[in-house]
């Protein structure tokens, strides 16, 4: 048997854990700089070990379970949330050689599996037997379902242009022009919907501290809480990778700078998206609940449909047709 079949996912898991550790650190540092503070700087040189210390503290914490919770579901929910988050990474092409599964319907696979996490969030919120957790879980699920529709619709333009759902072929099709230019409307819709899917500011209503204490994971502590946080940041990793693959040309080098290896290009574009997400968190206030749903159904969905229509029309125009 090919040893990479076993080793590859383990290495990916370690890379993802490393990413999560330093994404949290980086987020706190950047937020600190945006707000004119220094950020974490006590543990280790330049505060580099801050997250490691935080994770250790979480692991050593007492594992509290509410007395009236539905025990089986309460324990199942964190694992159920994390598994799809990691499973979707299988189809992401990091470079033309580093990819785990060249799946014919890779893009749909990503979108389908990520919806399983919504069940986990609902179950986690419900089984805690706490009204804040239940409300947070409901809000989270409602928001993620509503924004999943514009998210799926916005990538239809790309699927029409490439004629395939395979992520490798989508990257190959961006050799000349990245899809961010011909699919500008689709990109904006995708970006907004993806931030909402990630439950990040300005769409972090499920975790609105001032209204809901902390959302669906109020009752979780220690290791289980760590799993929910891990899921959130693994999704950030996956979504940033997907945005890079779909709109920023994946591993393709811009301006013919091919002497820099493809993985470096991928990491650069990926890092920019992650920074962008943190930047948004530092600058935007939280959106209101009623505005949230209206925005998804009355603004994003029509825009995504318009994008599909425009793509279909421009495909037939003689000169522009080659970009679509």
């Amino acid at each position: 048997m090919n040893p990479w079949l076993v080793l590859g996912p383990v290495i990916l898991l370690l890379i993802v854990l490393g990413f999560v550790t330093y994404a949290i650190f980086f987020e706190r540092k950047v937020l600190g700089w945006i707000q004119g503070r220094i950020g974490p700087n006590r543990v280790g040189p330049w505060g580099l070990l801050q997250t490691v210390a935080d994770v250790l503290k979480l692991l050593l914490k007492e594992d509290v379970t509410p007395k009236k919770a539905d025990l089986a579901l309460f324990k199942l929910a964190p694992a159920l949330a994390f598994i799809p988050a990691f499973a979707i990474l299988a189809v992401i092409p990091f470079t033309d050689t580093i990819q785990f599964a060249d799946f014919a319907v890779g893009l749909l696979y990503y979108l389908a599996l990520s919806s399983v996490t919504i069940i986990a969030i609902l179950v986690g919120g419900w089984s805690s037997n706490n009204k804040y957790a239940l409300l947070g879980g409901m809000r989270s699920a409602a928001q993620m379902i509503s924004y999943e529709i514009p998210l799926v619709m916005s990538v239809v333009g790309i699927i029409m242009t490439v004629g395939s759902l395979n992520l490798n072929e989508i990257v190959e099709a961006q050799k000349e022009v990245w899809f961010i230019f011909p699919q500008a409307i689709g990109f904006v819709v995708f970006l907004i919907a993806s931030i909402s899917e990630l439950n990040r500011t300005p769409f972090d209503l499920p975790e609105a501290e001032s209204e809901l204490v902390a959302g669906y994971h109020v009752e979780y502590s220690g290791f289980r809480f760590a799993f929910f946080m891990l899921t959130e940041y693994v999704y950030m990793f996956a979504m940033a990778s997907l945005t890079t693959v779909l709109y920023l040309g994946g591993w393709n080098a811009p301006f013919g700078l091919t002497f820099i290896p493809p993985i470096v290009w991928f990491v650069l574009k990926f890092g920019f998206i992650v920074f962008f997400l943190i930047w948004l968190r530092g600058t935007f206030p939280r959106i209101r609940v009623d505005q949230l749903m209206q925005f998804a159904w009355k603004v994003l969905l029509p825009l995504a449909l318009l994008n599909i229509l425009v793509t279909a029309l421009l495909k037939e125009v003689p000169f522009l047709g080659k970009f679509y």
Binding site: D70, L73, F103, A104, V105, L108, Y109, L111, A112, L113, S115, V116, I118, I119, L122, V123, W126, L134, M138, A141, A142, I145, G163, S164, L165
Partner: protein, 170 residues
Amino acid sequence: MSFQFSGEFIAFFILSVMAICGAVFMINATRVIHMALSLAFTFFSIAGIYLLLEAEFLAVIQILIYTGAVSILMLFGIMLTKHKEEEQPSISSWHSIISFCATGALFGLLIWVIYRSPLVSQAPQKAAATVGQLGGSVFKQYVIPFELTSVLLLVALVGAVILAKREGKK
């Protein structure tokens, strides 16, 4: 009949046991939310079986629609209503006898149909249908049934909106 213990067979075995277990849990669970979740689990296992049959698109759509959307809709419905009470088993003995007979009859009918229909999978066609071919046949060959279904769904949607609006006015 001889079984080959290939990876495919083992995967099929595990997935079918998962699907059946989900269905049995669904019937035996006392809390409604456990039922909904075991149903979602069954849907998920069936998607795995589709994947084994090389129907990738169908498998992914099964997860997206059934495991994702339909299950979440059911969970929402359950959570927004009362959830403390457990369902009381209120089935009398004659009821279960009638159900047993009906299920047995259905099972017999299904087996009869399966044995009557000729099995086409003797020579498996290797070129599995791609998503493009699927789209082509839906939008070219079967375009009128497709459009009719869309109109039906639209009518249902408009009806739901009207019903919801009337309730709001009261």
